[in-house]
């Protein structure tokens, strides 16, 4: 697949090839500008590659009607600004849109699904608040609730925990892990937090300059050598005694 930003001379992705399996929990990591966010946008179908295509279960993504695609794939972008004072419940209900007829109002079961998603996100008692009244962490969780209310098979997330405190960071990943385990939800999340990505992702994809620099289980991807090359940072990679997973301790940027 090849993708070029509008007006850019060189494509960001050229002959990028990546295959994700259903039921996977994949973390996409890499430094700023490596193409993580753009990869998510292309995977979600909101932008199309210039050459090649994205296939979802063997079907080209662009041949799937938008509403059907929205029932299969949900995506939460970073820093979504919502204009006008919609309430938290109204935001969650928006996730039901692809399940309704083209013109219909939300049915009782849609309210149930939206409220269940808000409960998962610890926002049940905030449903009447406006999005503008929430903290940035709560706002992020409200947008995640919208994606959960969509009841997708695949959930794509751009930095889902960027603005969150320690508790909600873990809480979001715990919820994702539970949905992954119980409902077989495929989760693909970009992250700057290598340790969180390693702890929850069964597979890490390390992006570097629009290419896949490494792809595999956390222990194979998170090595001091690869991190030095891609992140230009000296690190010490230890093994967490409790989980047996790699644990990255940053030391200093490489000059």
């Amino acid at each position: 697949m090849r993708f070029r930003h509008h007006g850019a001379a060189a494509p960001l992705f050229d002959r990028l090839s990546l295959s994700l399996s259903g039921g996977e929990f994949a973390g996409i990591i890499g430094p700023n500008g490596s193409g993580k966010t753009t990869l998510l946008r292309v995977l979600s179908g909101v932008v199309s590659p210039e050459a090649g295509d994205i296939r979802l279960g063997g079907r080209p993504l662009r041949s799937i009607p938008p509403r059907e695609r929205a029932r299969l794939v949900a995506v939460v972008f970073q820093e979504t600004q919502v204009l006008f004072n919609f309430s938290v419940l109204e935001i969650a209900l928006m996730g039901r849109a692809p399940h309704l007829g083209p013109w219909g109002l939300e049915r009782p079961e849609d309210f149930d699904a939206a409220r269940a998603a808000l409960r998962d996100m610890d926002l049940a008692d905030q449903e009447d608040k406006h999005l503008q009244e929430l903290s940035s962490g709560e706002r992020q969780r409200a947008l995640l609730a919208r994606a959960l209310a969509q009841e997708p098979r695949i959930l794509l997330m751009d930095e889902p925990t960027a603005f969150l405190d320690l508790k909600h960071r873990l809480q979001i990943y715990e919820i994702l892990a539970r949905l992954h385990r119980d409902r077989g939800l495929t989760v693909v999340a970009t992250s700057h937090d290598l340790n969180l990505a390693a702890r929850y992702g069964s597979r890490l994809v390390l992006m570097h300059g629009g290419r896949v620099a490494a792809d595999g289980p956390p222990a194979a991807v998170l090595t001091a050598g690869l991190i030095r090359e891609v992140y230009e940072t000296e690190t010490r990679v230890e093994r967490d005694a409790a989980t047996g997973l790699p644990f990255v301790v940053p030391i200093a940027p490489v000059r």
């Binding site: 509008h6 946008r41 979600s44 179908g45 909101v46 932008v47 938008p66 509403r67 059907e68 695609r69 929205a70 029932r71 794939v73 949900a74 995506v75 972008f77 979504t80 600004q81 919502v82 204009l83 006008f84 004072n85 919609f86 309430s87 419940l89 109204e90 935001i91 209900l93 928006m94 996730g95 849109a97 692809p98 309704l100 013109w103 109002l105 939300e106 309210f111 009447d128 406006h130 503008q132 009244e133 969509q150």
Partner: protein, 338 residues
Amino acid sequence: MPPLTARRLALSVGLLAAALLLGIAVCASIGSSHYTLLDLLRTIPDREIAQATVLRVRLPRILMAALAGAALGASGAAFQAVLRNPLADPYILGVSGGAALGAFLATALGLEALLPALPVREAAAFLGAAATVGILFLLSSARGRLVSYPMLLIGVIMNTVYLALILLIETVVEFSRLHGVRLWMIGNIPIEGYDLIGALSFVLLAGVAGLTLLGRDLNLMSAGDEAARSLGVTVERTRVVTVLLASLITALMVSVAGPIGFVGLIVPHAARLMFGPDHRLLVPAAALIGACFLIAADTAARTMMAPTELPVGVITALLGGPFFLWLYRRQGGGGYFE
């Protein structure tokens, strides 16, 4: 504001429609002569004069004001959503300005005098508005997609150019020749025949119904194009259809009633503060509130200093501005525009 249900939608629209009917009845009973709607039911000596005053002078003008107000309110709400900008309205986008330039050009070129039997000014105003929408589309599309941000800027620039051209025409053309179009420009609601009012009502209802049906897409687009696309909205199609429908009803009403400012901007905000941001209710609510607001403003314009008539635009700005600021403060101000 609780989320939208069929019950709340029906109740809110029913309430507003009842308010509009009441407003029409009350305003039809107010005027420089003392006749009221009730005089039509009674047997009074000057029944025929009462009938002519109420049914052939006041009512057509009230209905025309209601149509123009509804078009401006609904299209303002749609423009604000589709351009993701709370300051968007048909006036700022240059649609009204284009209509004004068209009307002035037709008069200055003497087309009105040439074809007195035809609605030349109205046709020219409509063409001016339609041409403006065409230019907006051409200049603000990139790679076949309509981009919302430059639209407002282009609208502002075109408005400035239109105003300059109108001033130029005013300077060059003999003063007396422009009297009619100047009256139209001020926004004096004209007394039209019921045929025209019927035809305009039909287009307006279709336009508002279309925009209401696009309401859920407009809700989703409030979170941005990509978020809307990820929820299954065909964003480009929704944007094009919305702009076309909103422009069509605005251009039609402005071409008849004149470019009336302020209604398209403040009515959607007032509707949003009263009924919440869901466009499936907001669009019809803004249409009905706009209709109520403009008939009230027009009634004030023709009675306050009778027999002198004030331009309705003066009333809409003087009533609308403070009312909006009050509503805005009452709702806690600030956060609303963030």
